[in-house]
Assembly symmetry: C2
Homo-oligomer: 169 residues x 2
Amino acid sequence: MQTWEAITSRRNVRSFTDQPIAAEDLHRILEAGRRAPSSRNLQPWDFVVVTDGTQLQELAQVWVGAGHVAGAQTAIALIVGPAEGPGHRDEFDLGQATMAMMVTAADTGIGSAHSAVGDQDLARRLLGLPADHTCAYLISLGYPADRPLAPIVRPDRRAFDEVVHWAHW
Amino acid sequence: MQTWEAITSRRNVRSFTDQPIAAEDLHRILEAGRRAPSSRNLQPWDFVVVTDGTQLQELAQVWVGAGHVAGAQTAIALIVGPAEGPGHRDEFDLGQATMAMMVTAADTGIGSAHSAVGDQDLARRLLGLPADHTCAYLISLGYPADRPLAPIVRPDRRAFDEVVHWAHW
């Protein structure tokens, strides 16, 4: 798929078909995350990949907004280490890695949605995380149950001319 | 360009040729940022676009790591409003918007680099920002002075099998 088609087709998908994600597609999505830029190239992330149905259903309990994980074919948990210090930009960097993975997913028609995580103790137990690590976000992946991904002509966003300023505010 | 080529060709570019960025390419880069997802679709960003050489050179003074802005053809300043409250995820969302713009830039061979901002008073003055707004990041854009963008075979990153865990940590 052309890049612009993937960028404009990506949307939040929260219900998925039973079609599994091919191993090579999943590998490419994870590779896109691995390649993402980060402050001082610290790569402050680890990714835990969940494909088991029972584990996905349990993982969906970690946050009120994580329900879509229960029906996903795969979830990628973004893990970060002990609390950030000065100069660390974990959140910004996780956003970059997440977007790289979601655009790469869209490139092969795979839908995605992400969620924050509230119950860290539950997330740690389900994913076997070290006590000083945190599950920052979950990314659900699967083929959309509603309709295939296609370029969105009128995205639900603020108008271009409202967002973009030229030279000065 | 195919999506995977753009994803794998994106790299930090900090010196640029004199070739200007075509208006339609710049529009598409900004449009990719506008379309980025954000927590509760808050779209907590404004973009100020700088193309004037003198303004770029002044803007490069806002942070020790912003030197590449001085030689950029264009810089996009990512602006956020008053301090975030509970549930806001400005940094994560800015990371998503930044990655969408950088991948879209790479799609047409345009290099990019981003920088944090230290001297907010200077940034506010140069960009005419409201007193309660902050310039969170700058994105430099231009054609690479060293070599054209091309897929990177061996990125300087942690090994795939070190980053990716299956089912459990």
